[in-house]
Amino acid sequence: MDGNLITFYILALVAIGAALGLLFSKNSVYAALFLILNFATVAVYYLTLGAPFIAMAQVTVYAGAIMVLFLFVIMLLGTEKLAGEDTLIWQKPFAWLLAILLIGVGMYQIALRGVTDAMIHTFPGGDFGSPASIGMILFNQYLLPFEVTSILLLVAMVGAIVLTKGESKKAQK
């Protein structure tokens, strides 16, 4: 077993452990912190897969901006420890059954296809996935989707402001 595979399995253990921590932690602040650990681990995967730009975007956008927003809202609303009593008694076993079916079908499909010869060369180096190469393709081939995304972000920003503004307007009248 070579070093790359050992690195893969150690990172997989951390990523899956953090995901399970998100699933089972009672306190939602801990859940958010577990999710940050998971995102950081996936960012390391991106680095090993030769995607340094995406790895840094993952750390700044996902683990940084988005999770700070989550933690801010959790603490703003004060819903760290929401009582988790189940109103539907059959829901949890049914959810477990569906999850086992989902992972079972996925693993069966992987096993069914057999081992393909598609091997991933980790730590490739070279120009592939560098900010320059992504910028070239982003601003040439994918220019229209890029502009549409900017409009989407603007709409989301205005929408978020409108949704949370309602109360203060009433107070002014």
Binding site: A19, A31, Q58, Y62, V73, Q91, A118, M119
Partner: protein, 100 residues
């Protein structure tokens, strides 16, 4: 050299854990975070296959998914704050006012 099946398996496991979070948790914010986990597992697969086929388009797609996720989180959390103001709870079992 790592077979690409390892990445597919890891991505499937992370996606299933995220789906479990959506199905079993009652806190709307934790459900949201589980959706982020599912998006992230799909992103991992995009990057893995971009490396297999040596195609930068996969990286660009992950970039777009991140932007859309950021927009989704901004609107979603604003909705959660608005619901909490009017109802005083974000337990999704208590939010059944559309039920006739």
């Amino acid at each position: 050299m790592i077979p690409v099946e390892n990445y597919i398996g890891l991505s499937a496991i992370l996606f299933t854990i995220g789906a479990m979070g959506v199905l079993t948790r009652r806190n709307a914010i934790v459900i949201f975070m589980s959706v982020e986990l599912m998006l992230n597992s799909a992103n991992l697969l995009f990057i893995a296959f971009a490396q297999v086929y040596q195609e930068v388009g996969g990286h660009v797609f992950v970039f777009f998914v991140m932007a859309v996720a950021a927009a989704e989180v901004a609107v979603g959390l604003a909705l959660i704050v608005a619901i909490f103001r009017s109802r005083g709870t974000i337990n999704i079992d208590d939010l059944h006012h559309l039920k006739g």
